[in-house]
């Protein structure tokens, strides 16, 4: 039960994007299509998992004042592994995500979890934390991408939804990304407010 909590907290209670408010750049930039969102999630979760495992494994021997360079080296190595693997076996994905693959290095979620969680907790807990955070990140990305792809391109997974309908292109451009995330955060606040209101009246 305790372990399950460690896993599930990333999805809602400590959702990296909606609650902690980190890792915004890839969230907004790659959510132009649902398949991009899924591949970005896979890549980020892999790096997060790898860095969490390694950081928690070596946490007792790392001197505190040089920990940040060490963490960054570990994260960057995993990012390069992802970069090379995608380039070799999924070249289309590599092209679609473009510059946002090297930018996983500076995704605050990964360094943030290494610093805040993995450097203080056991390996098993760090694995669960990474998987939960990855799932929370992925679900948010997927929701955003589906909304934007349907409204902005009249498509889902690259296939047209309604033949001949003109989409609202603005939703797939940068402004649409900001609007969608703003409204999603607003919806989250509304749900939270409702919940606490019910608790008070009980």
């Amino acid at each position: 039960m305790d372990y399950f909590k460690e896993f599930i907290k990333g999805v809602w209670q400590k959702n990296p994007i909606l609650v902690l408010g980190i890792g915004m750049c890839p969230t907004l930039a790659v959510t132009t299509s649902a398949s991009n969102a899924i591949w970005m999630t896979i890549a980020t979760t892999f790096v997060l998992l790898g860095s969490n495992i390694l950081v928690s494994a070596i946490r007792s021997i790392v001197p505190t004042h040089v920990r940040i360079p060490i963490f960054i080296t570990i994260i960057a190595s995993f990012v390069i592994i992802v970069e090379l693997t995608l380039k070799a076996f999924q070249p289309d994905v590599y092209k679609a995500l473009g510059i946002f693959i090297p930018l996983i290095v500076v995704n605050c979620i990964i360094l943030g979890r290494a610093e805040e969680f993995a450097s203080k907790n056991s390996t098993i807990r760090s694995i669960l934390d990474a998987l939960g955070m990855g799932l929370g990140f992925g679900l948010t990305l997927f929701t955003l991408a589906v909304i934007r792809e349907i409204l902005g391109a009249n498509k889902l997974f690259g296939y047209t939804l309604i033949n001949g309908m003109k989409p609202a292109i603005i939703m797939i451009l940068a402004p649409g990304a900001f609007f969608t995330l703003g409204l999603l955060l607003w919806a989250m606040n509304v749900i939270k407010a409702r919940k606490s209101w019910f608790k008070r009246t009980e």
């Binding site: 090379l84 380039k87 047209t160 451009l173």
Partner: protein, 225 residues
């Protein structure tokens, strides 16, 4: 900070750096072959697409106007006459970075085929230059599995086929391309721009114009030698 701490930190950082460098070079070794194979396959597929029916004989890279220029020589035998055709790499800065394409032309400068290799344009606008005009909808693909009206070629790229690259290619703003427009556009040696992405369209037409000039220079250079 005590000297012992500095030494310890240095050793740990070096060990981690060494391990990461070692594992990355190992990773590079595994992926090198698939990456090279991918690129080779992509190039061959692109050449087959832009030079339909021709066999590629030679790849050449020359320096023209201080920039390197790559082109391919291809031939085809038709009624015992050997016909020649060329393909070349065309590149020009678009909106979000370079737009690189490969263009096939025959002896009368008519474009035989055209395909975009590399682009980083805005999704929804310039990136539509590689969009496939498919009538297949989401429901067709995943639910009814009715895949009769599937098209493979991008409409933007298809409209270049048959144009004369020797003359300037005009850009018209007629909205999205459809098959009925094709004859009219070929007569005027024009293409229709992607809505909201005239810069991308212009980058492509200009890269073709510059490319064909370079190709002719390269060919005369070759004859002199």
């Amino acid at each position: 900070m005590k000297p012992a701490d500095i030494i310890k930190a240095t050793i740990i950082i070096s060990v981690i750096g060494f391990i990461s460098a070692f594992s990355l070079s190992f990773m590079k070794k595994i992926t090198q072959e698939p990456i090279a194979k991918q690129e080779q396959e992509k190039k061959l597929a692109a050449l087959a697409l832009v030079l339909p029916g021709y066999t590629v004989q030679q790849e050449k890279t020359v320096t023209i106007d201080n920039t390197s220029f790559t082109f391919w020589i291809a031939t085809k035998e038709e009624n015992r006459i050997i016909k020649k055709a060329w393909a070349f790499l065309a590149e020009k800065k678009g909106y979000g970075g370079p737009v690189q394409s490969i263009v096939g032309v025959d002896e009368s400068n008519t474009i035989l085929g055209f395909t975009i290799l590399l682009q980083n344009e805005t999704p929804g606008l310039g990136a539509r230059c590689v969009e496939v005009a498919s009538n297949e909808t989401f429901i067709d693909h995943f639910i009814t599995k009715n895949v009769t009206n599937k098209e493979e070629v991008s409409w933007f790229q298809e409209q270049f086929i048959g144009l004369n690259a020797g003359k300037p290619i005009a850009i018209q703003k007629k909205g999205d391309w459809h098959k009925e427009m094709k004859d009219g556009l070929i007569q005027q040696n024009a293409v229709t721009a992607i809505t909201g992405a005239t810069i991308t369209t212009k980058a492509v037409t200009q890269s073709i114009e510059e490319g064909i000039q370079k190709l002719h220079k390269a060919l005369t250079l070759q004859e002199v030698q």
